[in-house]
């Protein structure tokens, strides 16, 4: 503690779990927006990561509310936000934003994209997996060209709806912080936009990491065109994100409200490592410069010519640094906003627990859980190109079979 703080500010109320929540939600939104690049904006190079990005978004989305439930306690009461919706509360409306995104956007898009494969897998397989895949088709086993083209069209439409929904999902998280008038560290109209672009950055970086690591684990070659494109998009998103953050920073400096002194003290002391070192230097500038030089972002060829192996290593390293940087952003927003007194005269400290619901281990478990879910999802719905089932020739060409094809 330093200077004067009010008695109720001594202990922080929003712990590391509240840091994990926007971080995870950001990954969901970012991964989905990456998937939409292929679908809506027709970026063919990133096609190998399309399904992986969707499954990643789903795995992380399933975990997204868990930090909140763990933090709030009484998880058995959580369904009540659906039963008695409070339209005056942005936090209470989260349940509906979440449900919309999960049910209408992500699950539907995955379902339409995988339906053909689910039907074909169900036909080829035996045992439990056959029934799991058949159940997932919901009995819609029609593989006629008309049905498949309907899947395709619907998938595209849902992605188009999904982009504003992803913006809503993560913009909403920024909105929650940005609308806290009493807190000068949070209260900024730029907050939802900054959150959104940092989400895109983190999502692209995460899918890049998962794609490269999964290729390594499966002993498959990495598609260099794909990772080059991902690295280039990561670079573009980082440039926009960094510019917005700088804009926010300069705006605060120019506005120079009465809080500026305590905030600059906080940045110089409490947040020096997490903001200056981790967020700006290691998490943003270093990977941005590295990607700018190595990825084919500014021209068709990268500025520095490197062998593919080294490039992959640099991309992976940069993406990991970006994750550290984005987690630091969430940390600096959530924890930073509670470190200074509303009297603007003192700073408190955050003591992170190791055990306990709000501890470091619980947060780490919540960050590992999406990968476990992703592993299960990948087992059920393999996103790899070689796993994609081929249509039988008779149905593929002529379209003669137009009705429902029963499970054989």
């Amino acid at each position: 503690m330093q200077g004067y703080i009010y008695p109720n500010e001594f202990e922080l109320h929003w712990s590391i779990l509240v840091v994990v929540y926007p971080y995870v939600t950001g990954l969901v939104a970012g991964a989905f927006i990456l998937a939409s690049l292929e679908r809506v904006f027709n970026v063919k190079e990133v096609q190998p990561t399309y399904r992986l990005a969707l499954l990643t978004a789903l795995a992380f989305l399933l975990v997204a509310p868990l930090p909140l439930l763990a933090h709030l306690g009484h998880p058995l009461r959580s369904y009540e936000i659906f039963l008695t919706p409070n339209r005056q509360s942005a936090m209470a409306m989260f349940g509906f934003v979440y449900a919309w995104y999960l049910m209408v956007v992500l699950l539907l898009e995955i379902w339409f994209d995988y339906r053909k494969d689910l039907v074909l897998w169900a036909r080829q397989e035996k045992g439990l997996t056959r029934w799991i895949h058949y159940a997932l088709t919901l009995g819609a086993t029609d593989l006629s060209p008309r049905a498949l083209s309907f899947d395709e069209r619907m998938g595209r439409w849902i992605t188009i709806i999904g982009i504003p929904s992803a913006f809503l999902l993560h913009g909403y998280v920024g909105f929650i912080f940005g609308s806290v008038k009493a807190n000068p560290w949070w209260s900024s109209v730029l907050m939802p936009v900054v959150f959104l672009f940092s989400a895109i950055v983190s999502g692209i970086a995460l899918v890049l990491i998962i794609y490269m690591v999964s290729a390594m684990l499966r002993w498959k070659p990495v598609d260099m065109k794909c990772v080059d494109k991902l690295a280039a998009f990561l670079f573009y998103a980082m440039v926009v994100d960094f510019s917005l953050e700088m804009l926010d920073f300069i705006h605060r400096l120019y506005e120079s409200e009465e809080s500026i002194e305590i905030l600059s003290q906080m940045i110089e002391s409490r947040l020096f490592i997490s903001l200056i070192v981790l967020q700006v230097a290691l998490g943003t500038l270093l990977p941005m410069i590295t990607l700018g030089l190595t990825a084919p972002a500014l021209s068709k060829r990268s500025a520095v010519k490197l062998p593919d192996e080294l490039k992959r290593l640099i991309y992976l390293g940069s993406a990991i640094l970006v994750q550290i940087g984005i987690f630091s952003i969430r940390w600096n927003v959530v924890i930073g906003g509670q470190l200074f007194s509303k009297s603007l005269r003192g700073l408190t400290v955050y003591k992170l627990e190791l055990f306990g619901v709000e501890g470091l281990l619980a947060a780490a478990a919540l960050l590992i859980l999406p990968f476990v879910i992703l592993w299960v999802l990948v087992k059920i719905l393999p996103p790899w190109p070689e796993a994609e089932a081929k249509l039988p020739r008779a149905e593929d060409d002529s379209g003669a079979v137009t009705g429902a094809v029963p499970l054989r």
Binding site: T84, A140, D142, A147, S343
Partner: protein
């Protein structure tokens, strides 16, 4: 026999009815859950269960309210309402008094006499509003009950202290039993009037020259002969006297 398919021959793709069914189940499930789980009176008065008010009303009443006090303690009430504690309810200090009202002879409300009780509001804290009466309990007449000097039903507003001992009691008591008992505080300290109003902003002075103490304690000083003397020129010339000697309780030579 042909399989039953209600959409056979229509242009509705097979996926649509299946998805509609899934969403219908989810929405109907939500509506059914709402029907059974949302309390009947929810939302009648606001975003809460209106019947909760009845539950709260049914709680045992512990507070009587000051109107009830007024019936018997009218004079005290009038005194309090005219004073600085007019905004503090009777039961804020005397505790819940519903039982006392129902049986005044047998059950008496508490009379808080310990200092800690008054200090809940009047202990010095920088977060309290400027001008709110606050004291430092260590310095402000320790061991004495607040009500010995203050009438809680008509507390006096803070006054500008007439004497230094009002705030610096510890020093005053120490000085009173020392060899410097006969000296006024202002003999050594210059205390501007503003110090009494804004003690932290305007500070009193301290002697900064050795010659000040030398006025009594130098070899050639014009002072009574029993006062200890020193050679100002040779006795630790680099220090001001109070850096080694505590003037509020100077040691016996």
């Amino acid at each position: 026999m042909a399989k039953f398919d209600p959409f056979r021959g229509t242009r509705v793709p097979q996926q649509v009815p299946r998805l509609v069914a899934v969403f219908a189940v989810a929405i109907i499930g939500l509506l059914v859950a709402r029907y059974f789980l949302v309390p009947d009176t929810f939302g009648q008065l606001g975003h809460y269960r209106a019947a909760a008010l009845d539950t709260i009303v049914a709680h045992e009443k512990k507070y009587a309210g000051q109107q009830a006090c007024q019936l018997c303690h009218f004079q005290i009430m009038q005194k309090r309402l005219a004073g600085n504690h007019k905004g503090v309810g009777c039961e804020s200090c005397h505790g819940p008094a519903a039982t006392h009202v129902s049986d005044p002879a047998q059950i008496k409300p508490s009379i808080p006499s310990e200092r800690e009780f008054c200090l809940r509001c009047h202990e010095y804290s920088p977060s309290r509003p400027t001008g709110f009466p606050q004291i430092d309990p260590v310095r402000h007449n320790p061991m004495s009950f607040c009500s010995n000097c203050h009438d809680p039903h008509a507390p006096e507003p803070p006054v500008i202290p007439g004497q230094c001992s009002a705030c610096h009691g510890q020093i005053a008591r120490q000085k009173a039993v020392s060899h410097h008992a006969g000296l006024e505080c202002t003999t050594c300290h210059e205390a501007p009037e503003e110090h009494k109003v804004t003690p932290r902003l305007v500070r009193p002075t301290k002697p900064t020259e050795r010659s000040f103490c030398g006025g009594c304690h130098a070899r050639d000083a014009d002072s009574p002969p029993h006062i200890p003397r020193i050679n100002l020129r040779l006795h630790n010339p680099r220090y001001v006297c109070w850096q080694c000697h505590y003037p509020h309780y100077p040691e016996t030579p």
